[in-house]
Amino acid sequence: MRRFVTKQNRALVSELVRTDFKLRYQGSVLGYAWSLLRPLLLFVILYVVFVKVLKSGGGIPHFPVYLLLGIVIWNFFYEMTVLSLGSIVARGDLIRKISIPRWSIVLSTSISALINLFLNLIVVLVFIFINHVDLLRTSLWLPLILLEVYVLALGVSLFLSAAFVKFRDLSYIWEVVLQAGFYLTPILYSLSIVPPKYQKFILINPLAQSIQDARYAVVTHSPLAITTSRIFHHGWYMYIPFGLVVAALVIGLIYFRRESKYFAENI
């Protein structure tokens, strides 16, 4: 473990993150302001469409915040996996010429995604105050829930970035998988419109579980909220999503470790 957190590696990762961030808003007039402005404007559109026009999410209290929290968590997973997928190939010049630890590239991409997540959460916080949501002590669960999403995304990212070196079709396949996942996860709709026997299948998905838990912890606080633990009546099945997260991380790490030896020649 000590060789992962050397002074050099920390400097490297922080410099890669900085570069990512500087290059992202390169040449735009508003620059870094976009990192807050972009989610804010997107949320306003969603708010108008789903709350004012479609009037969906009838019975749910503070539906706008409920909706945004789900979207923020999903976007984090989406952004991190999509950016990581191409990250190793995009940094091919470094990999072919210098022996930096390969994982530092995926790690720096994931940190960039985390930074964006926190900026988005700041915007969500604004909406929380506007909507007068009571922040209860359950909100303290949020960091742990986000950690779970991060670990899942990291495992998936490691796997995808390593596999993409060999199989370039993966970017298109992953896009389709994410599109399917977006509708299989209760983001735009409420789980209550799904027949109960399918709710179980949906809530096995770690992302659905985290989004529902986060909404319960931060927004609804309702004992009737459909979360994984409630739907499985606190039986051992409720741990399946966590098992999947750990499995994703382990498989991702093992595969990445095995493949990373050959990145330089396969890119």
Binding site: L12, I98, I100, K166
Partner: protein, 394 residues
């Protein structure tokens, strides 16, 4: 590692690349090929059975022609490639610079690139802050540091990259062809840096085409050809062999092609051979030294002679008429010959030897193309068969 004096130990290393005929990096073609059980790649052996050691404090040169596998070897040492076979032991930290300015981003400013590049070499921000002024001063581009790198001339980029690179610390430095770029003044800076490295006994592995630099800086060298070690030893020997190989190919006068040709009158002569005592590659101030060995079947008055020729033209001949040589039957006699080579121009030369009977100077045996040497002189103003000491008057 048991021996503390060894910086790098390479044992039996081999590397094979699989080169797909049609790059197989889509799932569809992978699936199709899997079912067809067809492997559409060919194996290319880049290196085989490479073993050598680099001791601490050595300036170790690796030379070889393009495609010989020397860059692959460097990348294996740097940990960029994973060896297929064998082991590489590195004792200490190793800093590679395979190329100048790795990771430079044209959209960032010079200043930002300095910090990024520094991080790739293993420096954190505060260390870079401390070195920043020196780096910029050395690159001589103070005025441009807050401009984007894309607005730099290529010379400025190289200077900046180089002045960061020479800050690199590590027990072992790997340098690849860094010298190949830049103007004369810049090259002089590189040379000064190498001198400094050599002086402070820094362990360096240096890959180059420039035999002048190899001779000047290296303390040990290795010649790689077709993925195998062809020669290892002193830089003079290795550089000489390299020059010899190169001249041989470029002049289409491969020594190997021209068969060794010996003919003896076996009634009189049992054997005739030559042994070079000086290195293959000579400078103008060096001496060409060789032994001619002969054995007789019947005593006669022996005279030896040789011809040195270049591109099939005889440029020098000499015989031993002035001497009375041993002619005892069935013992090996050795006659050593020494000559300066200051009258030779750069190029590859071959030696033919002959044995005569003094009576009528009749040839009783000869051996053609039995030794070679190279004059590795770099004076590009002179050529031809003989060397002139001409002067221009304007």
């Amino acid at each position: 590692m048991s021996d503390d004096n060894i910086a790098i130990k390479v044992e039996g290393v081999g590397k094979t690349f699989r080169l797909p005929h049609e790059k197989n990096n889509s799932i569809k073609s992978a699936v199709i090929n899997f079912y067809k059980r067809k492997r559409t790649f060919e194996k290319q052996v880049a290196l085989q059975d490479i073993s050598f050691e680099v001791k601490k404090g050595e300036f170790f040169g690796i030379v070889g022609r393009n495609g010989s596998g020397k860059s692959t070897l460097l990348k294996l040492l740097a940990g960029i490639y994973h060896p297929g076979k064998g082991t590489i032991n590195i004792n200490g930290t190793l800093t590679p610079f395979i190329e100048l300015g790795v990771g430079f981003s044209p959209e960032l400013t010079g200043r930002e690139n300095v910090f990024l590049n520094g991080a790739l070499l293993g420096f954190n921000r505060s260390e870079m802050e401390a070195m920043y002024d020196d780096i910029v001063a050395f690159a001589e581009i103070e005025r441009f540091m807050d401009q984007k790198l894309k607005n730099y001339s290529s010379g400025m980029q190289v200077r900046l990259a180089f002045s960061i690179a020479i800050r690199a610390k590590g027990d072992i430095l790997l340098l690849d062809e860094v010298l190949a770029v830049g103007d004369a003044a810049f090259q002089q800076k590189c040379y000064n840096y190498f001198e400094e490295l050599k002086k402070r006994k820094q362990t360096v592995v240096f890959v180059s085409h420039d035999m002048g630099a190899v001779r000047r800086f290296c303390t040990q060298a290795l010649l790689i050809e077709d993925g195998e070690i062809k020669k290892s030893g002193t830089p003079d020997d290795v550089a000489g062999q390299y020059t010899l190989d190169n001249i041989a190919t470029t002049e289409k006068q491969t020594f190997a092609e021209k068969e060794k040709n010996q003919k003896l009158d076996t009634k009189l002569v049992k054997s005739l051979s030559i042994k070079m005592r000086s290195p293959v590659s000579l400078g103008l101030q060096d001496q060409l030294v060789f032994d001619i060995k002969y054995k007789l079947n019947k005593p006669f008055d022996v005279v030896l002679g040789y011809t040195i020729s270049k591109q099939g033209v005889s440029v020098a001949e000499m015989n031993s008429k002035k001497l009375k040589l041993d002619n005892k039957v069935n013992t090996e006699h050795v006659l050593t010959h020494k000559t300066g080579v200051e009258a030779f121009n750069a190029g590859a030369y071959v030696i033919d030897i002959a044995i005569f009977d003094r009576k009528g100077m009749e040839i009783v045996g000869y051996s053609l193309n039995c030794a070679q040497f190279v004059i590795g002189e770099n004076d590009k103003t002179k050529g031809g068969i003989i060397r002139v000491e001409g002067e221009w008057d304007q």
